[in-house]
């Protein structure tokens, strides 16, 4: 049986400007600007962070675990999200959501939070030192930063099966959800001199499986940090994704991946297409192939293009939906919406790109790049084309090109404004966000699986939340509403 696909996205934003141009200082200014304007100055609690744990059951000595930095600005928001400085970028980690559409809403809310933080920060800065933020994944000079998805997966799914089933999706889904990139920036990709690639991230991947996120990036990341009951759950940490400006792309990215993971849990990896013989070669070659027709050899001796893989995977997902209803992923109308959007975008990128320029980021971006190049007869290397690429991801409405290309929106303004402040109702993010909103003075720290209270006397009290599906509105709203203080809440929890 598939378990509920609790999911979310964490996004590191590109950052420019700021006093002294130091990205760490600028990122701290952004996070602190937002944290100080509300009642959300709650610290992150690092207990439970074990990035060195390897899902393969042993620590891989050839790769190094990421360093968790504890001294940088770090806060928990009333919507259950985490807003902090990760390395040299401001990062928004969405709260745990129950469905792909909800996770899309909270990703869009993250953009709005960054936009508000930017506004507050720049109000206090000299205009010459104004900061700008970009929801993208690379600087065009070989430096990349991540957009990571997380999915709750049953612990008893063999890791080898996850690799077997999901690598074909992770190397090929860029044909539908890639954010597009002008040119190339790594040695391996520059060798082929592409004018445009489907994905921001593809060329940065060097391994099939591994623990790294910053060097030798793997297609399947093995970080085993469930942030929940490790006996029952795994959190699949997906690092091979682009930051999408198109809400439809974010939705299909999450929806397709969640359906395939649920299909794997339900029926095992047998019906999934065979692995490409060289997944790293495949992900890079697919990124450069704007015809979408170039095949790579697979373990079953067939050749498949990225489009072929997606077509087969769509049928795996459809079959799973037909046989089970896919309630692990979402209610039936939303599941149907995932399948129809995924199908339309997939057919569109092959047969009628203009028809999906309102949903597929790379198509929307390429249309502008080509149009502009033609209008002014520019060389492939012209800086203007790279500027278009970069500015597509600028989050300021005054500058954003993504906001001008006519992308379809799935989330309404009102629901986005609400999601900026309020947590999802059907995961433990509800309890976390509500505690931050109701008892900010008594919370000293919070993290994904606990909230820590200081009641002024006695030891600190940690409320564990090891099940992502508890701490919901249904289970805790009455308790929270009748507890006017943190003391009352903890007394009630003890009873």
């Amino acid at each position: 049986m598939a378990i509920a696909k609790v999911l979310g996205i964490e996004t590191e934003y590109g950052i420019a400007g700021g006093p002294d141009y130091d990205p760490i200082t600028s990122s701290s200014i952004i996070v602190n600007a937002y944290a100080q304007q509300g009642r959300t100055r709650i610290n992150w609690d690092f207990d439970g962070e074990t990035p060195e744990m390897d899902a393969r059951g042993r620590v891989d000595l050839t790769s190094f675990a990421p360093i968790v930095e504890t001294h940088l600005a770090n806060t928990v928001l009333t919507n259950g999200a985490r807003l902090y400085v990760d390395h040299a970028h401001p990062e928004y980690s969405s709260p745990e959501c129950r469905t792909p559409l909800e996770a899309t809403l909270y990703d869009v809310a993250g953009e709005e939070i960054m936009r508000r933080a930017l506004g507050i920060a720049n109000d206090s800065l000299d205009p010459a030192a104004a900061i700008t933020l970009y929801k993208n994944n690379s600087d065009g000079k070989g430096n990349s930063y991540g957009t990571h998805e997380n999915y709750l997966v049953r612990r008893d799914v063999e890791f080898a099966h996850l690799v077997r089933a999901m690598v074909p999706h992770f190397v090929s889904r860029q044909v539908v959800i890639g954010a597009g990139k002008v040119g190339a920036e790594t040695e391996a990709a520059l060798e082929h001199n592409p004018t445009f690639q489907l994905s921001q991230r593809a060329e940065f991947f060097e391994e099939i499986v591994g623990l790294e996120t910053t060097l030798k990036r793997p297609i399947i990341n093995t970080r085993d940090e469930p942030h929940s009951d490790a006996e029952r759950f795994r959190r699949l940490h997906v690092i091979i994704g682009d930051a999408n400006m198109s809400q439809s792309a974010t939705f299909v990215k999450l929806g397709s991946t969640a359906l395939l993971l649920a299909a794997l849990e339900e029926f095992g990896p047998v019906s999934f297409p065979a692995l490409p013989r060289s997944p790293v070669h495949a992900v890079r070659a697919f990124a450069r192939d704007l015809t979408l027709r170039e095949g790579v050899p697979c373990d079953d001796d067939l050749s498949r293009s990225a489009w072929d893989f997606q077509d087969e995977l769509w049928h795996v997902a459809k079959d799973y939906v037909g046989r089970t209803g896919a309630s692990a992923v979402a209610e039936s109308d939303e599941v149907e919406f995932i399948l129809t959007q995924w199908r339309e975008m997939l057919d569109g990128v092959r047969d009628d790109r203009d028809a999906v320029a309102d949903r597929v980021d790379w198509v929307a971006k390429l249309r502008v790049v080509n149009g502009y190049q033609e209008r002014y007869t520019l060389r492939d290397q012209d800086a203007k084309l790279r500027a278009i690429d970069l500015q597509y991801h600028d989050i300021r409405p005054s500058h954003s090109l993504a906001q001008r290309v006519g992308l379809r929106r799935l989330c309404g303004d009102v629901e986005v404004r609400e999601a900026v402040h309020n947590p999802p109702l059907t995961t433990r993010a509800y309890f976390r966000g509500q505690c931050v909103a109701r008892y900010p003075e008594q919370i000293v720290a919070a993290n994904w699986d606990s909230v820590v209270f200081d009641l002024g006397e006695g030891p600190l009290q940690r409320v564990p939340m090891l099940d992502p599906l508890r701490g919901t509105h249904e289970l805790t709203a009455e308790l929270l509403e009748t507890s006017t203080t943190a003391n009352e809440l903890l007394d009630a929890l003890d009873r």
Binding site: E12, G14, I15, A16, P23, P66, D86, H87, A88, H89, E91, Y134, S138, D139, G140, K141, N143, S144, Y145, G146, H148, T213, T214, I239, D354, R367, V368, G371, Y372, R375, D382, A383, K384, R386, A387, I388, L390, Q391, S398, H399, L401, R404, V405, G406
Partner: protein, 64 residues
């Protein structure tokens, strides 16, 4: 003629062309072309003026 003026001129020429054509016999292809032209006009207005410098100065530290 500066680039800006050139853009303005092209824009006004295009505007007069499209207003007479589109209404008569707008095939899907023409409509898409007209939409793209409008979009490119809009992008011209907001695109960073000094693209070279803008692109050069955008340097990030790796993350994740």
């Amino acid at each position: 003629m500066s680039e800006r003026e050139r853009i303005q001129k092209q824009r006004s020429e295009r505007a007069s062309e499209t207003s007479s054509e589109v209404t008569v016999d707008a095939t899907k292809g023409d409509q898409l072309k007209a939409d793209l032209d409008d979009l490119l006009d809009e992008i011209d207005e907001v695109l960073e003026e000094n693209a070279e410098e803008f692109v050069r100065n955008y340097v990030q530290k790796g993350g994740e």
